[in-house]
Symmetry: C2
Subunit: 222 residues, 2 copies
């Protein structure tokens, strides 16, 4: 490290790519910017890191301000540090990835934002800054994590059916899986605990399962 002292002309933000599943599609939360060079343009929600909070706490705070939810799955994605990525000055941003169970959140627009909305990842609008690149990273990471860890379960309620689980995998990977093979694979991993069967549906009531491990644990799922 240099001894010339600290560099004071540089700001740090966090941006949070918030994924959820709604209407059978993978959606991401975007906000419409109310100010500045990108007024009216959609962007990944985020904000400045305060001096008294860690990066991760800044991300949690922004996430809660935006969605009202706590205790969701949150992981650091990547830090983007090109000199000219923000036209207003030197801003480095650490991007986070959040996975939210769609039942548990409601949108809120914070002060510097005029609107917040869920977009299907297959129909994204033009994005501010280098947010298109960040989104690309987030999608790659999301698939990777679904394939090799238990993060998918963070998008389901505590008790879920095999069909729901398979459904979110099909959405994220944009393809169908064979029901029998999928269930066999999942069961062979010993992740699931069987719960009671009761469910009010107009067809054969499915078994309910719950996750036996921590969310985010490394397990080769597919």
């Amino acid at each position: 490290m240099s001894s010339q002292g600290y560099n004071n002309s540089l700001s740090v933000t966090v941006d949070i790519v918030i994924f959820t599943i709604r209407e059978g599609e993978l959606k991401v939360l975007l906000v419409k910017r109310a100010l500045d060079p990108f007024k009216g343009v959609w962007a990944i929600p985020g904000g400045f890191v305060r001096n008294s909070e860690s990066l991760e706490n800044a991300a949690k705070r922004e996430l809660e301000e935006e969605t009202g939810v706590k205790n969701v799955y949150l992981e650091q994605l990547y830090t983007f540090g090109d000199v000219k990525r923000d036209p207003r000055g030197r801003v480095i941003t650490t991007a986070y990835l959040a996975l939210v169970n769609s039942d548990s959140f409601s949108l809120r627009a914070s002060t510097d934002v005029s609107e917040a909305k869920l977009f299907s990842v297959s129909e994204l609008p033009k994005l501010a800054f280098d947010h298109r690149e960040i989104m690309g990273y987030a999608l790659k990471r999301l698939k990777w994590k679904f394939e090799y860890t238990t993060v998918a379960f963070s998008m389901l309620p505590k008790e879920f059916t095999m069909g729901q689980l398979q459904g979110i995998y099909e959405v994220v990977f944009s393809r169908e899986f064979d029901k029998r093979n999928f269930a066999k694979k999942i069961r062979s991993l010993g992740l699931l605990k069987e719960e009671k069967v009761k469910r009010e549906v107009s067809y054969r009531p499915p078994k309910l399962y719950s996750l036996n491990k921590k969310i985010g644990e490394i397990v080769e799922i597919l």
Copy 2:
């Protein structure tokens, strides 16, 4: 993002975990700090990010200052942003991972460092700041990358033998592989081009290979 303007009391550094293989062991470059609260303590080399350079360029610059090599494999690892990780003030650091071919570098101590030395990863000294945690991340990432990408080849000369390749895998994973199975697996991936066989050794001369793909490309190696 907030509209309240920029936060100016926060510094950003890069730290680079530089791995190489020497004497049949996985080694990492550490520097002995010459100043400050951690004077005399070993640390991961790094330095402040300048206003005019991207994060990645800062990492490249520090790497070259430390080792004299350019064009090595370099990837961003993680950004550490706890409030109290540096006792001198609020410093966020983005850690990078570098893999260096051991033939191609020479150590240099920069101005704020009294000594630079390669340590075996199995015999690390006490480290400054949160550098132990950073090292843990780096080692995990290194193994992951060896298993699923072609980064290993960045630690070999352009032309190498199957034995050399297997050797670095054995060092990184601290275990032995079966020669026949290893070669079969590698060959089945179609990564290698055969080169001329000549080599002056006091035993049966091995075939030489070169890599047919880009370094860092995703391929399930093991």
